[in-house]
């Protein structure tokens, strides 16, 4: 009976789903994953330590939440205040700074607000707000979003009005929106360089140290979640601060541009 054949084939498919290997899970932010650095690091980590790191690519808020719930074994994010609060709640063992990259301002190629000629990042934002030029905000509570809000605050501006569009989405989707609207947007450099749908957008402002973006690694607290794989998490940390990691991180380029700067301190 052909019907039976179909059924048994389908059942075999279900059973095949069940098997899976022992791995370690780490939640990271979308911007890190989009940078492409993970694709370079993960195979090396596996080679050197034998650990198969599975990445959960989510926003900063969700990345920390996954750690707090014990659904991952470590987190790698870039939002210092949130990280410290997370640690204070007993979710992790400690915080280890690994590297930084930077944020940039992207906007229409003719730069109607003249943000590119600003001396400081805050000045560039003031120029955009003053011109009421369209500006796309992630609006998703991500590290990038929080950085953007800090900058507005530092500039003494409360962004609101028709020109300010919070999309509540990831970096890629937000860039797509900005590209469609020909609007200004703050992005991490990696996401921008990798972004394929640039349209009329270009990089308009960069370089202010306030835009530097520190990545920190935090293992999940095994006292809170006994199943958390602290041994693998520690081994991964040891690798992340090693000379091998420094070499790979500092050596990683995208379109000829260096993206990350290794700054982990030896203990």
């Amino acid at each position: 009976m052909t019907f039976r054949t179909i059924l048994s084939a389908a059942f075999a498919a279900v059973l095949a789903v069940a098997a899976q290997a022992e791995d370690m899970k780490m939640s990271v932010t979308t911007s890190f994953a989009n940078s492409g650095l993970a694709d370079v690091l993960l195979p090396e980590i596996k080679k050197d330590t034998g650990i198969n790191v599975q990445l959960l690519i989510v926003g900063t808020g969700q990345a920390l939440k996954l750690g707090a719930q014990g659904d991952v074994d470590a987190v790698l994010v870039h939002a210092k205040a949130a990280e410290l609060a997370w640690l204070a709640e007993g979710n992790g063992t400690h915080r280890r700074e690994i590297m930084y990259n930077d944020f940039i301002l992207v906007g229409p190629s003719d730069d109607p607000a003249a943000a590119g000629s600003a001396a400081q990042a805050t000045e560039a934002l003031s120029a955009i707000a003053g011109a009421q030029a369209p500006f796309v905000s992630r609006g998703d509570n991500s590290g990038t979003h929080k950085m953007e809000l800090r900058l507005w605050k530092a500039a003494g501006i409360e962004p609101q009005g028709d020109w300010y569009r919070a999309v509540g989405q990831g970096m890629g989707a937000a860039l797509n929106t900005a590209s469609g609207m020909n609007a200004y947007i703050m992005s991490d450099r990696a996401s921008w360089l990798k972004f394929a749908n640039k349209g009329d957008l270009k990089l308009v402002y960069e370089g202010d140290p306030i835009l530097f973006n520190q990545y920190a690694y935090m293992p999940v607290n095994p006292e809170k979640h006994s199943h958390a794989k602290i041994e693998q998490a520690n081994a991964l940390e040891a690798w992340l601060v090693s000379d091998r990691a420094r070499e790979l991180i500092d050596g990683y380029t995208l379109n000829g541009e260096k993206l990350f700067t290794f700054n982990a301190k030896a203990e």
Binding site: A10, F11, A13, Q54, I57, D71, L175
Partner: protein, 234 residues
């Protein structure tokens, strides 16, 4: 338009060269959604048949509930399954979160109401035809259900395929409970979402075309297989 053409070209290239990543995520898509369709059918088809032939006080309520569940947003299902299977949730000890099994569970919840509802419609008509005969022959309750399921199998296959179609194209729930982990839980739809996020529209479209092709292939395969049964028009 250009994007679409580029996407088609890229899809063709990926398929022709049997790109290893593509094969992997396509197979996982198939496994998860076929698995969900099989389990959803095992629950939904008898449930639909049972609702069609039984009269009980809460029947209308159950059917209304079923129809309401059909419109359940996958993201909500994903969230509920996530909360249940999170390490901090009631079923956390099973360690199923971010595994294909969790994805199958989420999809089963999404597609079972659809399968049951379509099956209910089909079986109700068949039951109207068969009623007198089955009562006269004193078929027992489970025999009635078995007979209706077997003789209505063509229509029920449509129900299962509808469930499969909804599952294979679903992204909201499996993104949350699967996590879209490379080489572990990445399937066609989550890969498409990822590529779209990167602005890689032609790659996203290519995967989209593969997804459409896959859905068509599965439908055709089932119809051809079931038509090989001789002498039957249903």
């Amino acid at each position: 338009m250009n994007d679409i053409l580029q996407g088609l070209a890229r899809a063709a290239k990926l398929v022709v060269t049997l790109n290893a990543d593509l094969v992997e995520i396509t197979l996982l898509s198939l496994q998860v959604s076929l698995g969900a369709a099989v389990i959803g059918s095992a629950i939904g088809l008898p449930l639909g048949a049972w609702l069609a032939i039984n009269r009980f006080p809460a029947r209308r309520t159950v059917i209304a509930l079923l129809n309401a569940l059909m419109g359940l947003p996958p993201v909500v299902v994903g969230l509920i399954v996530y909360v249940l299977f999170s390490r901090s949730g009631p079923l956390g000890v099973l360690g199923l979160l971010f595994t294909p099994t969790a994805m199958v569970i989420a999809q089963v919840i999404i597609i079972t109401p659809i399968i049951a509802s379509v099956a209910h419609q089909a079986i109700r008509e068949l039951w109207a035809d068969y009623h007198d005969l089955l009562i006269s022959l004193e078929a027992r309750r489970h025999q009635r259900i078995a007979t209706l399921l077997w003789d209505g199998r063509r229509a029920l296959m449509t129900a299962s395929l509808a469930g499969f179609g909804r599952g294979i194209g679903e992204v909201g729930a499996i993104m949350i409970v699967g996590g879209n982990i490379d080489h572990a839980t990445r399937v066609l739809t989550t890969a498409i979402a990822l590529e779209t996020g990167k602005g890689e529209f032609d790659m996203a479209l290519a995967l989209g075309f593969v997804l459409i092709g896959l859905a068509i292939a599965v439908n055709l395969a089932l119809h051809i297989l079931s038509r090989t049964e001789r002498g039957s028009r249903w």
